[in-house]
C-alpha cells in the first residue's frame, strides 16, 4: 500500500515538474538570461526593463544587428570574411568602442518581414535592422525609434534628400532610418554584341523609338535584344517605375500613397500598355515570364542577350562579368508627351533603423553613424560598387567601375523619382508583381490588371 502511494506521489511530482517546465518554456524572457539570446539573434532586455537606465559609456553593451544588405561572406571567393568591408568596419567599430559588442545576424529579404514583425510584437528583436526604405519601413514604424534627436542638421545635410526615410514621406515627418545606399534603374548592354549588330556602342538611345530601333538591329543580327527574367515581376516593376517617373515626377508620385493617383488612371494604363507592347515585338527571350531575375543576369553575362534591365546594385557584377564590354544607359522616356522625360527612378534601397524597444539606443545610433559615414560608404563603393547615399562621397574619378560612376552622375542631377512600389501599400504592390508577368504574357489585359491593383489599393486604404 505504502509502495503504491509512493509510486503515485513520485509520478505526481514528475507530472507537476513537467507542467512547470512547460509553463516556464511558454513564459516570456528568462529572468536569469540577461543580454542577448545569441541563437535567435534577439535581445532579451526590453525597453521597459531598462527604461531610464541607459548604460553608461563604460558599461558593456551588446547590440544585435539584423543585416539584409551587407555582404558578410563572399561566395565567389574573391574576398575572405575578414576582408569584406562590413565585417571589417564592425571589427573596427568594436575596437574603437571597447564597451560595445556587435552581433550581426544575417536575414534574408524573404524572412525579415515576418521575423521583424514577430520580434517587434514580442519586443525581443534586434537593436538595429536594415530594412527596405520607403513604404516597407513606414509599415513598421510602430517598432521604430525616430532618429531626429540623434542627428543634427549638419549631419543630415550630408545625405541626399531624406524624404523617403521619413514617416509618410513627408519632409516634416519623423526620421525613421538612415539610408545605406542609393540606387538607379539601368539598362546594361554588351558593347561587343552591339558592334556585331553594327550599332554605335556608345550611343545611348534618346527616345523609346531609338531604343526599339536598336532592338530591331540586334534581332536582325540574330541576337536576343533584351534579356528579361520576370518570374518575380521585378523587371516589369523597374520598367514601370521608370515610365511613371517620366509621368509623375518627384512630387506627384507620392499621390499613389493615398490613392490620389490611381492604377486605373489613363497614364498608368498607357505606360503599362507601352511596356506590354514591347513583348509583342519579339525582342526578348521567350521564357521571360518564367525566368528568375538572377538567371537572366547569368544569361546576359554569358552573352545570350545584348541588354538587361537592372539597377546600380548590379554594376559590380556586370563589370566583373563583362569588363570593358559593359555599358549602361537610362531607360528612355516611353512617350514624347511625358512631362518629366529625363527623370530617373532613383531611391534609397535600404535604411538602418533602431528599434524602439532597444535597450541601448545611443550605442545603436553611434553604430549607425559609423556605418553611414563618408569613409565607410567610400570603402564600400570601392569594394562592391554600391552607390553612396551621401552627397559628400565623390566617386567621379573612379576608373574601375564606369557603370557605377555613370549611374551616380544621373542621380546627382537631382531629377530623381521614388519607385511607385516604394510608395504604395504592400498589397497592391504584391498584386502588381504577381500580375505583371501575366499581362506581358498576354494572359490578362492591362485594364484588367489595373482594376485588380486598384481594388487592392482601395482595400488597403480603407483598412
Amino acid at each position: 500500500m505504502l509502495r503504491e502511494t509512493l509510486k503515485k506521489l513520485l509520478t505526481l511530482a514528475l507530472a507537476v515538474t513537467l507542467i512547470m517546465a512547460l509553463l516556464a518554456g511558454c513564459g516570456g524572457n528568462n529572468a536569469g538570461q540577461a543580454g542577448t539570446d545569441g541563437n535567435a539573434g534577439t535581445t532579451a532586455k526590453t525597453a521597459e526593463s531598462s527604461a531610464g537606465s541607459e548604460p553608461a559609456s563604460a558599461e558593456p553593451v551588446k547590440l544585435v544587428v539584423w543585416n539584409t544588405t551587407f555582404k558578410t561572406s563572399d561566395d565567389t571567393g574573391k574576398y575572405s570574411k575578414d576582408e569584406l568591408i562590413f565585417n571589417k568596419a564592425v571589427k573596427e567599430f568594436q575596437e574603437a568602442n571597447s564597451n560595445i559588442k556587435i552581433e550581426v545576424v544575417d536575414q534574408s529579404y524573404d524572412n525579415i518581414p515576418n521575423l521583424f514583425k514577430a520580434a517587434g510584437l514580442a519586443k525581443n528583436g534586434p537593436d538595429i535592422a536594415i530594412l527596405w526604405a520607403g513604404s516597407f519601413t513606414n509599415d513598421y514604424k510602430d517598432f521604430i525609434l525616430p532618429l531626429d534627436k540623434y542627428f543634427n542638421e549638419d549631419e543630415l545635410s550630408k545625405f541626399q534628400k531624406l524624404t523617403m526615410c521619413r514617416t509618410d514621406f513627408k519632409d516634416e515627418g519623423q526620421l525613421l532610418g538612415i539610408p545605406t545606399e542609393a540606387t538607379s534603374i539601368n539598362i546594361f548592354y554588351n558593347k561587343e554584341l552591339f558592334r556585331k549588330a553594327g550599332l554605335d556602342e556608345n550611343a545611348a538611345p534618346a527616345t523609346w523609338d531609338d531604343f526599339l530601333a536598336i532592338c530591331k538591329s540586334l534581332k536582325t543580327a540574330g541576337i536576343t535584344p533584351l534579356m528579361i527574367g520576370d518570374k518575380e515581376g521585378w523587371h516589369s516593376t523597374w520598367a514601370m517605375c521608370e515610365f511613371l517617373s517620366d509621368l509623375y515626377g518627384s512630387n506627384d508620385i507620392f499621390k499613389f500613397k493615398n490613392g490620389e493617383a490611381k492604377p486605373t488612371d489613363e497614364s498608368f494604363v498607357k505606360a503599362m500598355t507601352k511596356w506590354t507592347e514591347f513583348f509583342d515585338l519579339g525582342y526578348t527571350n521567350p521564357d521571360y515570364s518564367s525566368l528568375p531575375s538572377q538567371d537572366s543576369m547569368s544569361k546576359f553575362l554569358n552573352g545570350e542577350g545584348a541588354m538587361r534591365l537592372g539597377g546600380s546594385w548590379d554594376t559590380a557584377d556586370v563589370m566583373g562579368g563583362l569588363g570593358d564590354k559593359a555599358g549602361t544607359f537610362m531607360i528612355p522616356s516611353f512617350s514624347k508627351d511625358a512631362p518629366y522625360p529625363d527623370y530617373l527612378c532613383s531611391q534609397f534601397s535600404n535604411n538602418f533603423i533602431v528599434t524602439n524597444y532597444s535597450a541601448s539606443p545611443d550605442a545603436a545610433v553611434q553604430f549607425i553613424k559609423y556605418m553611414t559615414s563618408a569613409d565607410f560608404q567610400a570603402k564600400r563603393y570601392a569594394q562592391d560598387g554600391q552607390l553612396p547615399s551621401r552627397v559628400d562621397v565623390d566617386i567621379s574619378s573612379d576608373t574601375n567601375n564606369p557603370l557605377a560612376v555613370t549611374s551616380f552622375s544621373w542621380i546627382k542631377r537631382d531629377k530623381n523619382v521614388i519607385g511607385f512600389d516604394s510608395v504604395m501599400p504592400a498589397d497592391p504592390c504584391q498584386e502588381f508583381y504577381m500580375l505583371a508577368p501575366a499581362v506581358t504574357g498576354k494572359k490578362m489585359s492591362v485594364e484588367e490588371m489595373a482594376k485588380h491593383i486598384q481594388e487592392k489599393l482601395d482595400a488597403s486604404l480603407k483598412k
Partner: protein, 299 residues
C-alpha cells in the same frame, strides 16, 4: 458495493487526468490555441502589428468576391483531380511489380525511395532546371526536331501544374510504394497458394486477391494524397513558379503566405486558412464515406 465501484472509478479518473495533464496542456498550448487563434483572427483586419479590428465576416466576403480566389481554388482542384490519381496509381503499379519480384526488384526498391530523402526545395530546383526553356528536356526535344513543343514549360499554368504534379510524384513515389508494399506483405501467402491450386492466373490474383485485400491501404494513400493536394504544394510552387504567371499556378497555401507575409494582411490570410481547413475537412469526410464498406456502415 456500487458506491465503492464508482468511487474507485472516480479516483482512477482523477489520477488519469493528472498524468495526462502535461501532454494535454502541451496540445492545448501548441495546437488548440493556435487553431482557435486562426479562427479568431479570420474575423479581424489585423496586419500583424497594429490594432486588431473586428470586421466580422468581411474577410470571407472579400475572399469570395475576389477573382483570384476562384483561380486559386480551381488550381487546387486541378491538383486534386490530376494529382491524386497519378500519385496513387503509379506507386501502386510499381509496388505490384516489386511485390511480384521482377528482375532487379531489390535495386528498384532502394532507387524509388531515394528521392524521398531529398528536400522539396532541392527537388523543385532540379525539376525547374530540367524543364527550363534551355534545359535538358527542351534540348532533347529540339535535337529530335520537335521545336514546336520545346516551350517555356513553367511559363504557363496549363503546363506548369502537370509538371509540378510529376515532380511531386517523383519526390513522394518511394513513400507511397513502401506503404503499398507493407500492405501487400500483410496478405497471407496461403491465400495465393490456394488460388494457384484453383488455377487463378496473375491477373485474377491481382484483381481478386491483392487489390481487394489492400483496400484499406489504398484508402489511406488516397487520403494522404488528397491532403497533399491542399497542404503540401507550397515548396514546389514557391521554388518552381512563384505561383505565376499571374495566379495561374498559385495554390491556397501560397496565397496564404503572400497575404500574410508579403501583403501584411494576417486577418485575410487567416480567413483563407479557415476556408482551406473546411475544404480539406469536407473532402476527407466525403472520401471516407465513399470508401466506407457496408460492414463499416453497420458498425
Amino acid at each position: 458495493m456500487e458506491h465503492r465501484f464508482f468511487s474507485l472509478e472516480r479516483t482512477r479518473m482523477k489520477w488519469g487526468m493528472v498524468f495526462a495533464a502535461p501532454i494535454l496542456l502541451f496540445i492545448a498550448a501548441f495546437m488548440v490555441y493556435p487553431i482557435l487563434s486562426v479562427f479568431a483572427y479570420s474575423l479581424t483586419s489585423w496586419d500583424g502589428m497594429g490594432e486588431i479590428r473586428f470586421v466580422g465576416l468581411e474577410n470571407f466576403k472579400d475572399i469570395f468576391n475576389s477573382s483570384e480566389f476562384w483561380t486559386v481554388i480551381r488550381n487546387n482542384f486541378y491538383f486534386l483531380l490530376v494529382g491524386v490519381p497519378v500519385w496513387t496509381v503509379f506507386p501502386l503499379i510499381i509496388a505490384i511489380l516489386l511485390y511480384e519480384e521482377v528482375k532487379g526488384f531489390r535495386f528498384f526498391r532502394t532507387a524509388f525511395l531515394l528521392p524521398t530523402v531529398l528536400s522539396a526545395a532541392i527537388v523543385g530546383i532540379l525539376f525547374k532546371a530540367l524543364f527550363a526553356y534551355d534545359g535538358p528536356i527542351n534540348v532533347v526535344l529540339r535535337a529530335v526536331g520537335l521545336h514546336a513543343i520545346a516551350i517555356p514549360w513553367l511559363g504557363s499554368g496549363s503546363t506548369s501544374i502537370p509538371i509540378i504534379v510529376l515532380t511531386i510524384n517523383w519526390a513522394g513515389f518511394g513513400t507511397a510504394v513502401l506503404i503499398f508494399l507493407a500492405g501487400m506483405a500483410s496478405i497471407s501467402p496461403s491465400i495465393y497458394e490456394s488460388s494457384r491450386l484453383d488455377g487463378a492466373n496473375w491477373r485474377q490474383r491481382l484483381f481478386y486477391i491483392t487489390l481487394p485485400m489492400i483496400n484499406n491501404v489504398t484508402q489511406f494513400v488516397i487520403v494522404l494524397n488528397i491532403i497533399s493536394a491542399f497542404t503540401s504544394l507550397f515548396n514546389y510552387v514557391f521554388v518552381m513558379t512563384n505561383g505565376g504567371p499571374g495566379y495561374e499556378s498559385t495554390v491556397m497555401e501560397y496565397m496564404i503566405y503572400i497575404k500574410a507575409f508579403r501583403s501584411n494582411q494576417l486577418g485575410y490570410a487567416c480567413a483563407l486558412a479557415v476556408i482551406l481547413f473546411l475544404i480539406v475537412l469536407l473532402i476527407s469526410k466525403i472520401q471516407m464515406k465513399a470508401f466506407l464498406r457496408p460492414e463499416d456502415w453497420r458498425e
